[in-house]
C-alpha cells in the first residue's frame, strides 16, 4: 500500500469516526444526570437536521442551525416534562422502555410533518465536491467542521461539568439522587436540563453531519446504534473518551475495508469492541471505580 493510500484510508476513517463521535457525545449527558441511556438520542439528531434544512430556506445557514438547536432543546424539555418528570423513582428498565417508545413516536411524527424524502444541508464551506488535498489524499472540509464541533462540545462540557454549580449538581444527581435532593438540588429540574443539553447536542450533531450523511425521517436509528456503541467503547459518561473511541472505531473500520470485503466492516469493528469490553467493562476511558458505583 502506498503512503498516500494509507493516508486516504486514515482520512476516510476520520470521516466516519467523526460522525460516530459527535453522535456519541449526546448519549453521555443524560447518562451523567440520570444514569440511563436515552434511546431517543438518534431522533434528536434527525430532528436537528430536518429542522435546520427546513429553516434554511428562510434564513442564513448559521441562523437556521442555531434555531434548530434551540427548537430541538425545547423538544427535549417538553419530552421530559410530559413523559419523565412525573415518574417518582424511575427504574433503568422503565426509562429504557419510555425512551424507545419516544424514539418511535418522534420518528413517526417526523414522517408526517415532513415526508419520506432524503434531504441534506448545504456544506458549511465549499460545495458537495470540494475537498482538501493533504499528503496526496483528500478530505472533505465538512469533516473538519465535524471534528471542530466535537472538540468545541467536549471542551465546553468538561468546563461545564467541572466548574459550574449547575454542572456539578447534575453530576451529583447521577451519583446519588437522594443525597443530591437532600443537599437542596432540584433533581427534576436537573433532569429536564440534561434532556435539553442532550437534545441540543444531538441537534447540532445532526446539522454538521447532514451534508455528509444526509437526513431523512429514519436516519436517527442507524446513527444512534453506532453512537451508542462508541459511547460504550469510550466509557459511558466520558465525552472525551467518546470522541477518541469514535475516531478509533472509524479508523479500524476504514482499514479493515482495505484487506477484507466491506461487508465485514462492522463485524471486525464490533469484535474489537467486544474484546475491549471483556477486559475493560467500563470502556477504554472509563474508570473502574466510577464504573463500580453505577447501576447501569
Amino acid at each position: 500500500m502506498s503512503f498516500s493510500l494509507i493516508i486516504q484510508y486514515l482520512f476516510s476513517g476520520i470521516t466516519s469516526g467523526g460522525i460516530y463521535a459527535i453522535v456519541a457525545i449526546g448519549f453521555n449527558i443524560i447518562y451523567n444526570t440520570t444514569g440511563i441511556i436515552n434511546f431517543a438520542q438518534g431522533e434528536f439528531v434527525m430532528l436537528g437536521g430536518m429542522i435546520a434544512i427546513t429553516l434554511c430556506h428562510y434564513m442564513p445557514l448559521s441562523a437556521a442551525v442555531a434555531c434548530a438547536v434551540a427548537i430541538t432543546a425545547l423538544v427535549g424539555a417538553f419530552i421530559d416534562f410530559v413523559f419523565i418528570r412525573w415518574l417518582k423513582s424511575p427504574t433503568v428498565l422503565q426509562m429504557v422502555i419510555i425512551t424507545i417508545g419516544l424514539s418511535i413516536l418522534i420518528r413517526e411524527a417526523a414522517l408526517h410533518i415532513w415526508d419520506e424524502k432524503v434531504r441534506s444541508l448545504p456544506c458549511f464551506t465549499g460545495n458537495e465536491i470540494s475537498s482538501i488535498r493533504l499528503l496526496g489524499a483528500y478530505i472533505s472540509p465538512q469533516v473538519l467542521w465535524v471534528l471542530a464541533t466535537c472538540a468545541a462540545i467536549v471542551i465546553c462540557l468538561n468546563l461545564f461539568f467541572s466548574y459550574t454549580l449547575t454542572g456539578r449538581s447534575m453530576r451529583a444527581c447521577s451519583a446519588n439522587r437522594t443525597a443530591a435532593a437532600l443537599c437542596g438540588i432540584n433533581v427534576r429540574n436537573m433532569v429536564t436540563f440534561s434532556f435539553m443539553i442532550s437534545a441540543a447536542i444531538g441537534a447540532l450533531a445532526g446539522c454538521v453531519v447532514s451534508p455528509i450523511a444526509q437526513t431523512h425521517y429514519d436516519c436517527g436509528t442507524p446513527l444512534a446504534i453506532k453512537g451508542f456503541t462508541v459511547a460504550i467503547l469510550g466509557g459511558l459518561g466520558n465525552s472525551t473518551g467518546a470522541v477518541a473511541a469514535g475516531l478509533i472505531l472509524g479508523i479500524i473500520e476504514a482499514f479493515s475495508v482495505s484487506v477484507l470485503p466491506m461487508a465485514f466492516k462492522d463485524v471486525i469493528a464490533i469484535t474489537i469492541l467486544l474484546l475491549v469490553l471483556f477486559f475493560r467493562p467500563t470502556g477504554l476511558f472509563g474508570s473502574r471505580e466510577t464504573g463500580a458505583l453505577r447501576e447501569f
Binding site: 493510500l5 486516504q8 484510508y9 482520512f11 476516510s12 470521516t15 466516519s16 460522525i19 414522517l111 415526508d115 419520506e116 424524502k117 432524503v118 434531504r119 441534506s120 460545495n127 458537495e128 465536491i129 470540494s130 475537498s131 488535498r133 483528500y138 472533505s140 453531519v209 455528509i212 450523511a213 444526509q214 431523512h216 429514519d218 436516519c219 442507524p222 446513527l223 446504534i225 451508542f228 456503541t229 460504550i232 459511558l236 476504514a254 475495508v257 482495505s258 470485503p261 466491506m262 461487508a263 465485514f264 466492516k265 462492522d266 463485524v267 464490533i270 469484535t271 469492541l273 467486544l274 469490553l277 471483556f278 467493562p281 467500563t282 464504573g291 463500580a292 453505577r294 447501576e295 447501569f296
Partner: protein
C-alpha cells in the same frame, strides 16, 4: 460482574449477531428466516400455507433477487414440510365472486409507502390514486368503477406477503398492483399464482417473470437490459476494467448477480466488487479501495440514498473516471441531493425523465407529458420513473379489462397477454404468453445529469 458490564456486553452480542447476519451475503435474511420459522411453528392452517408459499417462491426461481424470501424460505420450508403431512393442500384459488352490474372492481395496491424503499412506494401510491380517480371520472370500465385498496408494506417482504394474503382472502380483490421492490414481489409471486390473482408488479428484477408464472406480470424494464445498455456504452468508451458497488438489498443483489453474469460476454472485467449497507453514511473507504485498483469506470447498483453519497465521495476523492448508476437513479431527488457531484453520472432509464426534450415524433411523448403535467400539478413534486411503473400497471389492467370478453380473472389474464403496441411510461409494451414484461432494450435511453437536470447522454 456488575450489571453495567453485563448489560453492555449483552447489547453488543445482539448487535454483532444482527450485523453479522445482515452482512454475510450467504445468509441474506437469517433474521427474517428465524421469524418465519417461529410463525410456522404455531401451525395454524393459515400460517402453514404462508410458510409453504414462501418455501415454493424460493425453491422455484432460486435467483439471488429472491433475497429475503430465499433466506426465509429455507428455514420455513423445513417447518412446512413436516407440517404439510398433517394438513392442507397448496393455497387454492377462492371461487370468483361474480360481478353484478354497477359493482366496483376491487384492485389491491401494495406499495412500500414507508421504509427504505419509500421513495419508490410514495410516488407509486400517489400515481395509482390519481389514475384511478381519472378512470372513475370517465365512468369506469364497462360501467364498473375501480375501487383501490392501498396497503403499506413498509418495504418488508414478510409484511408484503401477509398483506397480499389479506387482500386476496378477506378483500377478495380482482388483481393486485405492486409491490414496489423485487424482494417483496418474490415473496408473494407463487401465492398470487396459486390463488389465480393477477399481480402486476412495479419491481424490476428479472426473476419476477422468469421463470414465468401465468398470473404474474411486471411493468419496469428488465435489469439485464439496463446492464446491456450500460455495457454497450462502455464498449464505445473502450472501458474494460470496472468496479461494481451495490447495496445489500434485493435490487442491489439482483443487479450484482446480473452484472457478474453479463460482464464476461461483453469483454468486461470486474476488478473490485463491493457490497455496502443500505444505511451507509460515508463510502470513502470503499472508494479508496476502488482507487487503488485503477479501474476505468464504477458501476453502482442501488435504489437507496447512498447512491448520492457515493457520487459525492467520488468527486471528493478526486476521481475522474465515469460513474454509471442503475435505473434506480431515476428520481431527480437524488441528482439534487448529490448537487454538483451528480454532474456527468451516466444511467439507463425510461423516457419519462426527459419527456420535455423528446422529439415530437416519439410515440411516447404525448402520454409522458400528460402524466408529468397531471402528477406535478396535483402533487407539486417532480415526477419519477417509479410512479410511472404504477401508471403502466393500472393502464395495462384498464386496457385488459376493457378488451377482455368478460370481467373474469382468467379472461383478463389472457387479455393482458395479448396487449401489443401499448404505449406506456416505461416504453412500448408487447406482451405475449412467454413475455410478461413486454419491454425490450429500446425502452431504455441512456441519460446523464447536466446542470442539475436529466438529459440524454450524447456519448464521449
Amino acid at each position: 460482574m456488575k450489571l453495567h458490564s453485563l448489560l453492555s456486553a449483552a447489547v453488543m452480542v445482539c448487535f454483532v449477531a444482527g450485523t453479522a447476519m445482515a452482512q454475510t451475503t450467504a445468509k441474506p435474511a437469517a433474521g427474517a428466516a428465524a421469524g418465519a420459522a417461529d410463525t410456522a411453528k404455531k401451525t395454524t392452517a393459515t400460517t402453514v400455507k404462508a410458510a409453504e408459499t414462501s418455501a415454493k417462491t424460493a425453491a422455484a426461481p432460486a435467483k439471488p433477487a429472491a433475497g429475503a424470501a430465499a433466506g426465509a424460505a429455507d428455514t420455513a420450508k423445513k417447518t412446512a414440510d413436516t407440517a404439510k403431512k398433517a394438513a392442507v393442500a397448496p393455497a387454492a384459488p377462492l371461487p370468483e365472486v361474480p360481478l353484478k352490474a354497477g359493482d366496483p372492481i376491487k384492485i389491491g395496491a401494495l406499495f412500500a409507502v414507508t421504509g427504505g424503499a419509500s421513495n419508490l412506494g410514495t410516488p407509486e401510491q400517489k400515481t395509482a390514486e390519481m389514475l384511478v380517480e381519472e378512470i372513475n371520472a370517465r365512468g369506469g370500465i364497462k360501467g364498473h368503477k375501480l375501487l383501490l385498496l392501498i396497503k403499506d408494506s413498509g418495504s418488508d417482504p414478510q409484511k408484503a406477503l401477509s398483506l397480499a394474503k389479506q387482500l386476496i382472502e378477506e378483500d377478495r380483490v380482482f388483481a393486485i398492483i405492486g409491490p414496489s421492490t423485487s424482494g417483496e414481489t418474490m415473496a408473494m409471486k407463487s401465492l398470487c399464482d396459486q390463488t389465480k390473482t393477477i399481480l402486476i408488479s412495479c419491481a424490476a428484477a428479472d426473476a419476477i417473470v422468469s421463470p414465468l408464472a401465468p398470473y404474474v406480470f411486471k411493468t419496469p424494464q428488465k435489469t439485464s437490459d439496463a446492464i446491456k445498455k450500460i455495457f454497450g456504452e462502455m464498449k464505445k468508451m473502450n472501458i474494460t476494467k470496472i468496479a461494481v458497488t451495490s447495496s445489500n438489498t434485493g435490487f442491489g443483489k439482483d443487479g450484482k448477480a446480473q452484472l457478474e453474469k453479463l460482464a464476461p460476454e461483453s469483454g468486461i472485467e470486474i476488478v473490485v466488487n463491493e457490497v455496502y449497507e443500505k444505511e451507509a453514511t460515508d463510502l470513502t473507504s470503499v472508494l479508496t479501495k476502488v482507487k487503488a485498483a485503477n479501474v476505468q469506470a464504477v458501476v453502482n447498483w442501488s435504489i437507496e440514498p447512498a447512491q448520492a453519497i457515493l457520487a459525492k465521495n467520488m468527486k471528493q476523492l478526486g476521481f475522474t473516471i465515469p460513474l454509471f448508476q442503475s435505473h434506480g437513479f431515476g428520481n431527480i431527488r437524488y441528482a439534487k441531493e448529490a448537487g454538483e457531484a451528480a454532474e456527468g453520472i451516466i444511467f439507463p432509464a425510461g423516457r419519462l425523465l426527459i419527456a420535455d426534450v423528446l422529439p415530437q415524433t416519439n410515440p411516447q411523448k404525448t402520454l409522458l407529458l400528460k402524466y408529468k403535467k397531471d402528477y406535478e400539478t396535483k402533487y407539486k413534486e417532480d415526477v419519477s420513473t417509479f410512479g410511472g411503473h404504477a401508471y403502466d400497471a393500472i393502464a395495462l389492467l384498464e386496457k385488459a379489462l376493457g378488451t377482455a370478453t368478460a370481467i373474469e380473472k382468467e379472461k383478463v389474464r389472457e387479455a393482458l397477454e395479448k396487449i401489443t403496441g401499448f404505449v406506456g411510461t416505461a416504453g412500448i409494451f408487447n406482451m405475449s404468453a412467454t413475455d410478461h414484461t413486454g419491454l425490450d432494450m429500446n425502452a431504455f435511453e441512456v441519460l446523464t445529469v447536466k446542470g442539475g437536470k436529466f438529459a440524454v447522454y450524447g456519448g464521449k
